[in-house]
Symmetry: C2
């Protein structure tokens, strides 16, 4: 019964992160999947580029809340990281965000080439579904597996993550606010609803799928799965809001450049639309919302509560 405070990451979270790290490439070895060498290198390069593995850890932790078995859930957790990684590879492409570096390393299209990066992304996205379709849990309980697969596909597809990236690249294209563009308050309302919709799609959709999949695959009942999805949705928005705050307040060198770039592109961020003060109070309210979604769970949900704290107090 450790009281979660300070910057100590709970042992459950560290262990689950390690479990994901250790198994992430297991589903792509030559014995399991005959991948042409250069393509395999590019897929592995991006998968092992670091990162907090927050989505698979959320899935495993949500599964733990409802009594799921970690070994059963692991292929689905890794599939989530494949999909997250593919989205980063494609987002970094010259035609998209045009980023040369990610986490201090050359992006996939810089380390390899554009064609290879496009195909590495396509490969990771597709293999995610192969890994889920082939998993032992899927063979034993296909009913649960297809629910999880459909949830993930919807969250990561044109309605979710892919749609969010589209809106992020072409702001104003789809919120129907054109008739209100004359007055300033109408413009602000439209921007506010648009920035929220973009982040719901780009970040919150995949995080709520992560917690929801954990709930479904771990054997939760409808109301438990519903609570876990609400948790992931609030956590996803919180993640994005704190990201935007970090971009504004982080070290000038790294973060300042990102913000300047986003602004030059006309990208919508929370602080740009709402101001810093309102954004900080949104973070507080989202943090409360994500914790309140867990109120019906006991200690078994402490890891999920810890994740809220980690996201809120992180410095990068």
């Amino acid at each position: 019964m450790t009281a979660p405070s300070g910057n100590v990451v709970s042992p459950d979270i560290s262990r689950r992160r390690r479990l994901v790290e250790e198994n992430l490439l297991r589903f792509l070895t030559p014995e399991v999947c005959r991948i042409p060498e250069k393509l395999r290198e590019a897929m592995e390069y991006s998968l092992t580029a670091g990162g907090k593995r927050i989505r698979p850890v959320v899935l495993l932790s949500a599964g733990g809340v409802v009594g799921g078995n970690e070994v059963d859930l692991l292929p689905f957790a890794c599939a989530l990281e494949y999909i997250h990684t593919y989205s980063l590879i494609h987002d970094d492409l010259p035609a998209m965000d045009d980023d040369d570096y990610r986490r201090g390393r050359p992006t996939c299209h810089k380390a390899f080439d554009e064609a290879t990066a496009i195909l590495a992304g396509d490969g990771l996205l597709t293999e995610a579904f192969r890994v889920m379709g082939d998993s032992p849990l899927t063979a034993r309980d296909p009913g649960k597996a297809v629910r999880a697969i459909a949830l993930l596909a919807r969250a990561s597809g044109a309605e979710g993550m892919v749609g969010g990236q589209m809106m992020d690249l072409s702001p104003g294209q789809s919120t129907g606010q054109s008739s209100r563009l004359d007055d300033l308050s109408g413009r602000l309302d439209a921007a506010a609803s648009e920035v929220e919709e973009i982040h719901l799609r780009k970040t919150a959709a995949l995080l709520s799928a992560s917690s929801g999949m954990g709930g479904i695959l771990g054997g939760g009942d409808e109301s438990q799965v519903e609570s876990l999805i609400r948790y992931g949705r609030a956590l996803g928005l919180l993640f994005q809001v704190t990201d935007d705050i970090l971009d504004e307040t982080g070290s000038f060198e790294e973060m300042g450049k990102a913000v300047a770039k986003d602004r030059a592109r006309g990208k919508l961020t929370y602080p740009a639309v709402f101001g810093m003060e309102a954004t900080a109070s949104m973070a507080e309210s989202l943090s409360r919302e994500s914790l309140s979604a867990l109120s019906s769970f006991g200690e078994s949900a402490d890891a999920l509560r810890d994740i809220v704290r980690i996201v809120t107090t992180r410095r990068s």
Copy 2:
């Protein structure tokens, strides 16, 4: 009992093609999937760009052989066309084959822009899995559905179609023939095995998944599914071989350019590696192989036999 001869397409095939055309966009309407407008337009633009719909027709026809219900199979058939269409969109990108036109219309990145084309491809690929995961047959018989989903993911992913495109773009990268590059016959052997591997991955994998999925979802037993997969594999290679032949013998204006472009890129084709005569006899033998895989089926497989004839005698 129509004798399939000449250029008459059997009524079953026309009907199934129409069924696919009429339902292809049904799974992407706003009531089913909230897609940002520009992204939806790009996805629909490429889906409705014509084409023979051979993969979904093969799935429906293979399902028919083992007594499957067409309405049940339709979402899976459309998912196949989504995946085929995404692969065309990404293959046409400037970083890949750099094609401005497909079937006489501007390619997706020309009609829209590169970022939109990348996302339209990502969206179609992901929605394919959503459509399968959400289908009524999947809810009723998830065990069959996950087998079909896993088969399709493997066929279209890094081991299959995506891997084939990678090899096609970077010939010689993965067949381990470097030690034999000194003598001409070694080089020819290596090229022969490489051209076959590329086409197995790029074309035959998805076609054998099409017939295999029809067999699984239609309720076929193991040996029937196995026969249908063998049929699709031979049909896929036949399709590629006849494509290569058409490229060589088709109208100079359209086809000649494609071949010249492929050659300039160092792309491997059957006639380039084996010569025209040997390629023509390969087509005959693949046609026999695909028909012989159907030998245990009666009249119910006539549509699949018809498809072999159509592929063999087509002029475009």
